[in-house]
C-alpha cells in the first residue's frame, strides 16, 4: 500500500505536467518549432528509436568513462589530502580555484590539445564530475568521532589500519552522497564535451537539431538524457544500499527515535 502511494505521487505529477503541456500548446496556439505536442515527441522517439539508442550509447559510454575516472582519481586524491597536511595546504586552494572557474571555458582548450577522440570527452567529463567526490570524501574521512580515533590509537593501529578499518568505511555514507552528485554532473560533462567537438552522441544531436530548428528531436534527446541521468542516479543508490546496509538501518532507527 505504502509502495503504491509512493509511486502514485510522482506519476500524478508527470500526468499533470503532460496535461498542462497539451493545454498550453492548444490554448496559446504555440507553433510546432517552439513547442511540439508531447504526442509528437513520443512519436519521434518511436520512429527514431535505433538512431536515438545509438547516440545515447555513445553519451552513456563517455559519461561512465568520465565518472569512473572521477572515482578512480577523486577518492585517492581525497585520501591523500586527509593523510597529509602538507598536500592539503598545497593542493586545496588549487582544487577550489579549479571549481570556481567555469569548466565549460576549458573545454575548447582541451579539444585543441587532445583533438576530437574519446580522450578529451573523458577529460572534460572528469573535470566536471570529480570535485563533488573529492569534497564529500574529505568530509567523510574527517567525520570520525574523536573517541573512535582514540580507540584505534589505543590499539596501536598503523596509519594504514586507521584508514582501512576506521576512516574509509566511516566515510562511505559521505562518499556515496558525493557519487550521486558526481554521476549527475558527469552527464552534463559529456554533453558539454560533445558540444565542443563531436560527430556523435546526444550532445552532438542537440546541436544538430538546434541548427535545423528540429524542436521535436530536441525534446526526444532531452528525454533520453533524462532517462540516462535518472538510471545512473538510482544505480548508485542501489549500490549504496548493497554496500552499506548498516547506514540505511541506522538512518531509519534515528528517524524512528526522533519522530
Amino acid at each position: 500500500m505504502q509502495r503504491l502511494s509512493g509511486l502514485a505521487y510522482p506519476l500524478a505529477a508527470v500526468v499533470g505536467a503532460v496535461v498542462l503541456w497539451y493545454a498550453i500548446v492548444i490554448v496559446f496556439h504555440v507553433p510546432k518549432y517552439i513547442l511540439p505536442l508531447p504526442g509528437a515527441v513520443y512519436q519521434r522517439i518511436v520512429e527514431d528509436w535505433t538512431f536515438l539508442m545509438y547516440h545515447s550509447g555513445i553519451t552513456l559510454y563517455e559519461t561512465l568513462g568520465g565518472f569512473a575516472l572521477s572515482v578512480i582519481l577523486g577518492i585517492p586524491i581525497a585520501i591523500a589530502l586527509v593523510a597529509s597536511r602538507t598536500l592539503d595546504r598545497a593542493l586545496m586552494p588549487w582544487l577550489i580555484l579549479s571549481q570556481t572557474f567555469p569548466k565549460v571555458a576549458l573545454a575548447p582548450l582541451i579539444v585543441v590539445w587532445f583533438g576530437l577522440g574519446l580522450m578529451p570527452k573523458l577529460l572534460i567529463t572528469f573535470l566536471v564530475a570529480f570535485f563533488p567526490i573529492v569534497i564529500s570524501t574529505v568530509v567523510g574521512l574527517r567525520s570520525a568521532e574523536r573517541e573512535m580515533l582514540e580507540l584505534a590509537e589505543s590499539m596501536r593501529a598503523t596509519r594504514l589500519q586507521m584508514f582501512w578499518h576506521f576512516r574509509i568505511p566511516l566515510a562511505l555514507p559521505n562518499i556515496f552522497a558525493g557519487l550521486k552528485v558526481s554521476v549527475a554532473f558527469a552527464v552534463v560533462g559529456a554533453v558539454i564535451a560533445e558540444w565542443v567537438g563531436a560527430s556523435a552522441g546526444l550532445g552532438y544531436l542537440l546541436m544538430r537539431a538546434n541548427a535545423n530548428l528540429d524542436t521535436t528531436l530536441l525534446f526526444a534527446v532531452l528525454a533520453a538524457l533524462m532517462v540516462i541521468g535518472v538510471v545512473l542516479y538510482y544505480a548508485v543508490e542501489i549500490l549504496e544500499r548493497v554496500s552499506i546496509p548498516w547506514h540505511a538501518v541506522i538512518r531509519l532507527a534515528d528517524t524512528a527515535t526522533t519522530a
Binding site: E145, M148, E150, E153, W246
Partner: protein, 257 residues
Amino acid sequence: MAAAAISLKGASKTFGSDRNRVDALVDIDLDVGQAEFLAVVGASGCGKSTLLRLVAGLLAPTRGEVLIGGRRIDGPDPGIGIVFQTPVLLPWRTVRRNVELQLDIRGISTPSARQHVDELLNLVGLSGFGDRKPYELSGGMQQRVSICRALIHDPSLLLMDEPFGALDALTREQMNLELQRIWMETRKTVLFITHSITEAVMLGDRVVVITPRPGRIMEIVPVRLPRPRDFSALRVPEFHIACDRVRELMNAAGFTE
C-alpha cells in the same frame, strides 16, 4: 616491592599557549597498585579525562612522566584496554567481529584468542548475541560489547572514561554490579573515571578527588568496604561516611552538582 601498575610523577598537562593557556592537570603524583580499582571523581572539565588519556598514552604530559609497570611510556602501552563514554562500535561489524577488532589491529590471530571471545561475551551476559549487529542492541548491551573489546587481548590495565555516563540510572546500577564482578574475576588494574560520587565509592578501593582548573589531586579517600559490594551492603554507615567525605571535598573545591 613490585612496581606500581600505574605511576604518575609530577605529571602536568597544559593545553594551548599564552593567553589561551589551560592548565588541565598540575603536578599529579599518583601510584595505582596491581589489581587495584581506582576511581577518579571531579567536576566536568576538571581534567579527569585528561588524566586517563595521559595514562593511555593518547596524550603526552607537558611536564613530568607516566609509568606503566615501572616503564616510562611515550605512546599507548600494549597492555591497556579502554572503554569510552560511548561504545564506539563499528556498525558494519557484528558483535563478535567488533570484539575481534582489537585482535585484528594488534595482529593477534591465535585460535585461543578467538575462542576467548565467547568466554568474554558469556562473562558480560551476551552469549548468543555474537552474530547481532551493534544497532540491534540496547545502549547497555553495546557498552558491554565495548568492555569485551577492551579485555580480549588480556591487558593488565583497564581504563574507563565515564563508561556508564550515557546510560539510564537503572542500567547504570546494573552495570556497576557487573563491572565489579568482572573485575573480581579478571583481577585487572582499573582506572575508573566518573562524575558520580556513589558510583566511585561503590566501586573504588580508593577514590581520587580532583579539583577543577587547574586539576590537582585534592585528596585520596580510601573505601574500606568488603566485596562483593551490592546494594544491601551499601546501607552500612561506612559507605555514607565515604560518600559524604568525597562530597565535602568536591564542595570545598567549588564544585556544584
